[in-house]
Point group: C2
Chain length 269, copies 2
Amino acid sequence: MSSLNKMLGIMTLFSDQKFAWTIEEMEARLSLPRSTLYRYLRELVDAEFLTSLPEMGYTLGPKIIELESIVQRQDPLITASRPLMKELVAEFGGVAALCRNYRQKVLCVHQEQGADGFRSGYLKGQSRPLLMGSASRVIFAHLPNQMVAKLFDDHADAFRLAGLGSDIEAVRQSLKTIRQRGWDVTIGQVTSGVTGVAAPIFDGRENVAGSLSVVLRRTDLSEERLSVIADKTTFCARAITRALSDSGEEESNPNVRPGRSLSRLIPTI
Amino acid sequence: MSSLNKMLGIMTLFSDQKFAWTIEEMEARLSLPRSTLYRYLRELVDAEFLTSLPEMGYTLGPKIIELESIVQRQDPLITASRPLMKELVAEFGGVAALCRNYRQKVLCVHQEQGADGFRSGYLKGQSRPLLMGSASRVIFAHLPNQMVAKLFDDHADAFRLAGLGSDIEAVRQSLKTIRQRGWDVTIGQVTSGVTGVAAPIFDGRENVAGSLSVVLRRTDLSEERLSVIADKTTFCARAITRALSDSGEEESNPNVRPGRSLSRLIPTI
DNA sequence: CATCTATTATCGTATTGTGGTATTTAAGGC
DNA sequence: GCCTTAAATACCACAATACGATAATAGATG
């Protein structure tokens, strides 16, 4: 294992469960000698990724907050979505969530809260598996076939649990249904008593970039009400898709010859 | 320069001005060979600190958002302040800002907006120098004397520009005045047409941890109004100070023998 | 299928990180 | 002011490991 790897390993220690680590704890967890650990820590503290709290150990530093704020201001997906998400919660209440898929998980990258004070249990910065909850499933339904096949091979039981089917053909059919409808709804799959309605967001080509969802603390939405919410969510998601492909084309770096698809804002998987 | 250092150098490329970097641009900027650069990038992408946007280069990855959300949920300063900041903007409107000093700068780590829709020009995640704006000055006024002296030696002109005095004795007097009043106010020093009122936050002992401020889009506050705002801000800041020292004592890691001061939440400088 | 570009693998070399130990720094207690 | 304790850094011989020019591969494009 490379030293770079080991140093980055320090950054992955921090969690909601453990916000500060002492040298002793890191030494035990990472089984690195003290002097090496101190060397890594000095680098990370100098670069402001960590900061030292006397008597409490080390914790995350100011750089994390600075970089995240750059993402919030500059990420095309987030900046395009924010105003539409405010509209959604103004109309329906609850919470609007913007999710993005990175590799094999779905991360909530932004949220807007409505006036009713409801907070989703799936907060910004938290990630969920690809199969549970409408925000994840609607992304999953648009992933390449071969990736679906591979995931099914590896985690067939998870597919059954999620109610997506017990063989690959049934799964394909479930996903096709979601694709054809253009949106997805799940009730109580992430948090009991909560309904989520989600629509996919695409980049300039046909790749899923993420999903837009509306989350309400209800389980008894009427067919008509659900359809109104789903329509508006889908409409907003399409508007974001359009904004992404437009900005992608005009902002594309002129130093890069347009070889492959432009405006692909989905990270590589 | 160590390889760790060089790798972290990649992370500092990203800014509001440049959100995505291609390999060619990094190569030119960091003057590292391609193969080395790719090796670093692979590590950073694997650890999810970066992500690759095809045709656009590399940009900040999901780990940044995840780590920042941990800070927002777990940092004792932020969690203690949030409810009080909501109260402040509910009463006075404008924006409540929570700042923290790291080394020789002051970083805004949290904000709450009032109903009047005003947004400060000094957003969350952005940092300011120690001398300008009440949120910074009220922190600076409580820093150790020797640090003030050193900074004055290095940047005497900046002190004059900030109106803090042209010799060390005048500066000491200005800072003493701020300390004795218990809060600070500046008008248009950060953004023209904007008034900031700030009070210091301390950790368990006598060290400044940061500042709490109320920012209003006005320049014509009456003496009485100002004093009402300053009183309430100071009151809230003291409440936060109390919360920090309390939590610091009960949460202190039992593995660490209480040798030096407990509950010092100020990062080392 | 041919082509082009982004990314990864290879591998001999010596630079550079390693990790014991000793030392310094800094805070608190007495 | 001095002693104690812990945190953090400096030191340094050794060899592991990162380097980097080059070649190979992957993956999309047309």
